[in-house]
């Protein structure tokens, strides 16, 4: 399908404006297959808006996003078809509370006729084993801890066999003791070769796991680099200031 290192998402001059508020002010970057890109920045910097633009949960007001060569900002494009290939994990998990864990995972592939219920069920079992929760298949989300919910949310996104996974502050709503289990799953996912774009405040994760770190401030990419250089030798003054506060 897509070769390692090939450009998967090409972002060109992305802009997003809410009224008078210019949240994204011309972001240009490429996400290559197999890359793990972490995006950091202060709250209100536009990092979440940028991530949510990548699958058009936010509709950009300017610029282009080419996903696998197709400009998905074109209104004529069937965005639902492209979203099937872009998994997303939310800060608030957003599991479907009226469905069991297994039904949560099976719903999209079965509804979209990508798998038979039988295939989806097998896939769900595999994924539940992968996130370490095989015994929770028939539980309802309400009975799970935050960390477990997020692991299920990751499994649900993976059930669609996405080409890229977007993580929007996946550990920010978790109790501290549960952050580790979610990061561990994400790390394994990264090592398996999944392309990932992660908005996070977890600097340890950014440093250890990512292939590139991007610093967004005032709606622009201020600096991006491999983690050693990014953390070891930050050049941008705002980044230096930001790192001095969080590290």
């Amino acid at each position: 399908m897509i070769d390692k290192g090939e450009v998967l998402i090409e972002v060109q001059g992305l802009e997003k404006r809410f009224g008078d508020n210019q949240v994204l002010d011309g972001i240009t970057t490429d996400i290559r297959s197999g890359e793990v890109v972490t995006i950091i920045g202060a709250s209100g910097s536009g990092k979440s808006t940028f991530l949510r633009s990548l699958n058009l949960l936010e509709i950009p007001t300017g610029g282009k996003i080419l996903f696998e060569g197709v400009d998905i900002t074109d209104p004529k494009v069937d965005i639902n078809r492209h979203r099937q290939k872009i998994g997303m994990v939310f800060q608030q998990f957003n599991l479907f509370p009226h469905k069991t864990v297994k039904e949560n995972i099976m719903m999209a592939p079965v509804t979209l006729k990508l798998m038979t219920p039988q295939e989806a069920s097998e896939k769900a079992d595999q994924l539940l084993a992968r996130v370490g929760l095989p015994d929770k298949a028939d539980a309802y989300p309400g009975s799970l801890s935050g960390g477990q919910k997020q692991r299920i949310a990751i499994a649900r996104a993976l059930a669609m066999n996405p080409d890229v996974m977007l993580f929007d502050e996946p550990t920010s709503a978790l109790d501290p003791e549960m952050v580790g289990e979610v990061l561990e799953i994400m790390k394994e996912l990264a090592q398996s070769g999944m392309t990932m774009v992660v908005v996070t405040h977890e600097m340890g994760f950014a440093r250890e796991v990512s292939s590139r770190v991007v610093f967004i401030d005032e709606g622009r990419i201020q600096e991006e680099n491999a983690p050693e250089e990014f953390f070891g030798n930050p050049k941008n003054a705002r980044l230096q200031d930001f790192l001095s506060k969080v590290l």
Binding site: N55, L57, N80, R81, R83, Q84, I86, G87, M88, F90, Q92, N94, L95, F96, P97, H98, K99, T100, M107, A108, T111, L112, Y140, G142, S143, A153, R156, A157, M160
Partner: protein, 229 residues
């Protein structure tokens, strides 16, 4: 014992009283059932149009129509609506009064159901829609599989309430000449020159019907709360 039997026959058997009561019960049930079906379908359709417009800005014309509908129905008494349906809208069409009543009460109830269901849709976190859409489901699939089941569960108590109100509201159908429970009681009253037994009986009939409805709806509600445990 003889006295009780005599009284029973006086209010429930003699002069065709049995038939009045049975016809009344049957008609009240028929009108309520027709109205319930129309009201629920209409209410859901209107609610979906309204919330689709609120969230996406689509369906502008349909939204305007639903707003006019809600305004008229909620702004006028159901009594007047019933008379308009019977003596103006369906005046020249030979329709059974029970059907006319069912349609009138259904269209009336639909407006209230619509607002109940819309409040249910609005009560669901936006993240649920985002999760559905991010998986590649379209707006309709997300609404049907993710939003509606949760919204329905949340508004079920309010919907049950509306059904009870509707059942009792049908008591005004007598004004267009249909024998329902209330009308049956006044007919018996006029033949027996006694108000107590017919009116209390009518009240008991309504209470029993509402209790049966409440019982089954309560069962449905408990079943839908399974995922909360």
């Amino acid at each position: 014992m003889d006295y009780l039997q005599h009284q029973f026959e006086r209010f429930f058997v003699d002069n065709g009283a049995t038939e009045w009561w049975l016809t009344g019960l049957k008609n009240t049930l028929c009108i309520t059932l027709i109205a319930l079906i129309i009201g629920v379908i209409l209410g859901f359709v209107v609610a979906i149009i309204r919330s689709t417009y609120e969230q996406t800005g689509k369906l502008k014309v349909l939204n305007l129509i639903t707003k006019i509908y809600l305004s008229i129905i909620r702004g006028t008494p159901s009594m007047v609506q019933l008379l308009i349906f019977n003596f103006i809208i369906f005046a020249s069409i030979a329709l059974d009064e029970i059907v006319v009543g069912g349609i009138a009460f259904g269209i009336n109830s639909g407006a209230y159901v619509a607002e109940i269901v819309r409040s249910g849709i609005m009560s669901i976190d936006k993240g649920q829609t985002e999760a559905g859409r991010s998986l590649g489901l379209d707006a309709g699939q997300t609404l049907k599989l993710i939003i509606m089941p949760q919204a329905f569960k949340n508004v079920l108590p309010a919907l049950i309430n509306e059904m009870i109100v509707l059942l009792k509201e049908t008591a005004i159908i007598g004004y267009i000449g249909t024998t329902d429970i209330t009308k049956a009681s006044t007919l018996v009253q006029s033949r027996t020159y006694s108000a107590f037994v017919p009116l209390i009986s009518a009240a008991i009939f309504y209470w029993v019907l509402v209790s049966i409805l409440t019982y089954f709806m309560g069962k449905l509600e408990r079943r839908m709360r399974r995922s909360d445990r």
